[in-house]
């Protein structure tokens, strides 16, 4: 809980007891808590809400590249409180018979019990399987990593790029952070020089050095994923976990960070998006989401490139 003041909230006479501290009120009556904030035009973390809000709608994002020295490439992303680490490891495998000129991309999302009280020890939660699948869909749809660039020797050897995501703090927007971390790490990745030896039927690599600089990958268009929640017809971009649990609909938009780039994936869960305007209202909301997502994608791309 982040609130520190102990001022009791004076609620209307129909609302529950007015002698609760904000933290307790948030715990016992989450929906009225959020409604009170939105009525004032702000969200619990202070961000403005509403169609007129332009600045400060998104949580602070930061990317820290290359911090894990045991991994060829890594990225640590913080999106507000949500913290996610992506580490890339490389292996070599014979290509699939049906795709002899392609390497492999294996994403894996780990939501350890460390990151949130929602997850227990033992088998991976459903959430991590869903996230891994959606992450893979976004990465493959965007062709950010052309699988043909991982080839070493047709039909004999190709690189396997493992993208291992570990969530360290689960506070909503984990898919957004995971996609950003993968993209950040892939931009850093340099494949070591690998030669296929037909005599020993194996591949030998040279460690990256000045004589063998290796091969950085030419990436395709960088995907960025942005999530939204709809609560009482308010559109809340980049929801925290508290907000997304209360939202009636959740929308995720994955698109290319290039201006006017294609959309890769739109995902909507929960109640249909129609508002007072009927079906047209729903479509308007989706268009608003995509427009906001484009702006955010531009910002994040600029942050990655600096």
């Amino acid at each position: 809980m982040t609130t520190t003041s102990a001022q009791p909230i004076a609620g209307p006479s129909t609302a529950p007891s007015s002698s609760l501290t904000p933290a307790l009120f948030r715990r016992l009556h989450p929906r009225p808590y959020l409604e009170k904030f939105l009525a004032e035009g702000v969200r619990p973390d202070g961000r403005p809400v509403g169609a007129s809000a332009k600045e400060g709608v998104w949580r602070d994002a930061s990317v820290n590249l290359g911090s894990i020295s045991t991994a060829p490439a890594s990225a640590l992303v913080r999106l507000g409180n949500t913290t996610v680490v992506c580490g890339i490891t490389l292996e070599i495998a014979p290509p699939d018979i049906t795709f002899p000129n392609q390497g492999f991309l294996v994403p894996n999302v780990d939501l350890p019990p460390l990151c949130s009280p929602l997850f227990k020890q033992g088998a991976p939660a459903d959430e991590s399987q869903v996230l891994a699948t959606r992450l893979r869909d976004v990465l493959l749809a965007s062709t950010v990593l052309p699988l043909s660039s991982l080839l070493i020797e047709p039909s004999k050897a190709a690189f396997v790029v493992y993208l291992d995501i570990v969530c360290l703090n689960y506070d909503g927007g984990v898919l957004d952070a995971a996609v950003l971390a993968c993209v950040g790490a892939l931009r850093q990745l340099v494949l070591p020089e690998a030669t296929w030896d037909p005599d020993t039927l194996s591949t030998v690599c040279h460690p990256i050095s000045s004589q063998h600089p290796g091969k950085p990958i030419t990436l395709g268009p960088l995907p960025i994923c942005v999530s939204f929640g709809i609560f009482n017809s308010h559109l809340l971009p980049d929801t925290t976990l508290f907000e997304s649990d209360l939202c009636t609909s959740l929308v995720s938009v994955a698109l290319s960070s290039a201006s006017k780039g294609p959309l890769f994936n739109i995902y909507q869960a929960g109640a249909p998006l129609s508002s007072a305007g009927g079906e047209a209202g729903g479509r308007e909301q989706l268009k608003a989401c995509i427009a906001l997502a484009r702006g955010r994608a531009r910002e994040l791309k600029a942050m990655l490139e600096e």
Binding site: T2, S67, I68, S69, T70, A71, S74, N81, T83, V85, G87, I88, T89, L90, E91, I92, A93, P94, D96, F104, V106, P107, N108, D110, P112, P113, L114, C115, S116, P117, Q121, A123, P124, Q129, A132, R136, V160, Y162, D164, V166, L168, N169, Y170, D171, P192, A194, S202, T203, V204, C205, H206, P207, S209
Partner: protein
């Protein structure tokens, strides 16, 4: 790697995937007693410790010493399930996990890792004497350690103990003092034990000692050693570890007071 049953809950590695095989770089044999990063034998790497990274946890700590990076989160005390037998003292459950990218070669064992239970029990052993668990019957405290980058598993224990103790303290679990860990390796080329060894030093060592102690009380909670060590050298290693633990303790205390002041 090959022949592993397909795990339908994850995307699996392609069959016959193998780690990269590198051409041996031109090895420069170093026979000098100097350490690679030119530290003195009793000098430890700077410790960076920060609490409060995991917002939903009761307490958390992130530690970086050299290249070892790990994060520790504490959830609890919370009630044990009603089906569990009565326990008069709170139960401390420790789980240690390695991130797949933590050791250079991808480390991915979906089930039980063979190395983690040993680290978990060593950590448990090191922390238990410092905690006052009598005041928490029918409760359990969950401690999760996630190693993001590993510079030799033995120095992970030492860093893990320090981080875990700070995390427990920031969670408000009553304790008699902070537990701090330090390890020492005996290298064939050096006469004195080197403290806080890196992975390459640990791998080339003939013997290894790791120590967990409570500097505030001057008591030792856990000593483990590997290899044959003459007794006077063992005593010397334990003494120098214990004195260095005092320095690490002040770093840990600093991190805690800063987090409380914030």
């Amino acid at each position: 790697m090959s022949g592993q049953a397909a795990d339908r809950r994850r995307f699996n590695a392609p069959p016959n995937a193998a780690p990269l095989v590198f051409v041996e770089p031109d090895a420069v044999a170093s026979s000098s007693a100097a350490r690679e990063d030119s530290r003195a034998p009793s000098q430890v790497r700077p410790v960076f410790l920060q609490t409060g990274l995991v917002t939903e946890a009761s307490g958390s700590a992130y530690i970086e010493t050299g290249r070892t990076k790990l994060i520790c989160a504490v959830y609890g005390p919370k009630p044990t399930p009603p089906s569990a037998p009565f326990n008069a003292k709170a139960r401390l459950n420790v789980e240690v996990k390695f991130a797949p990218f933590s050791s250079g070669v991808r480390r991915f064992t979906p089930g039980k890792d063979t190395e983690s239970p040993l680290l978990s029990s060593t950590l448990h052993q090191s922390l238990l004497p410092s905690l006052l668990l009598d005041s928490l019957p029918k409760s359990q405290i969950d401690l999760f350690v996630h190693i993001l980058e590993s510079d030799g598993s033995d120095s992970d224990i030492s860093a893990g103990v320090t981080a875990a103790s700070v995390a427990l303290a920031s969670a408000g679990i009553q304790m008699v003092g902070l537990v701090v860990g330090c390890s020492a390796a005996f290298l064939p080329s050096a006469p004195t034990p080197v403290l806080d060894p890196t992975r390459s030093e640990a791998l080339s060592s003939t013997a290894f000692v790791s120590l967990a102690c409570i500097p505030a009380l001057g008591t030792i909670t856990n000593i483990s050693s590997r290899g044959t060590i003459p007794v006077p050298q063992f005593e010397e290693a334990v003494k120098s570890c214990a004195s260095v633990c005092g320095d690490i303790h002040s770093v840990a205390r600093q991190a805690l007071t800063e987090s409380l002041a914030a």
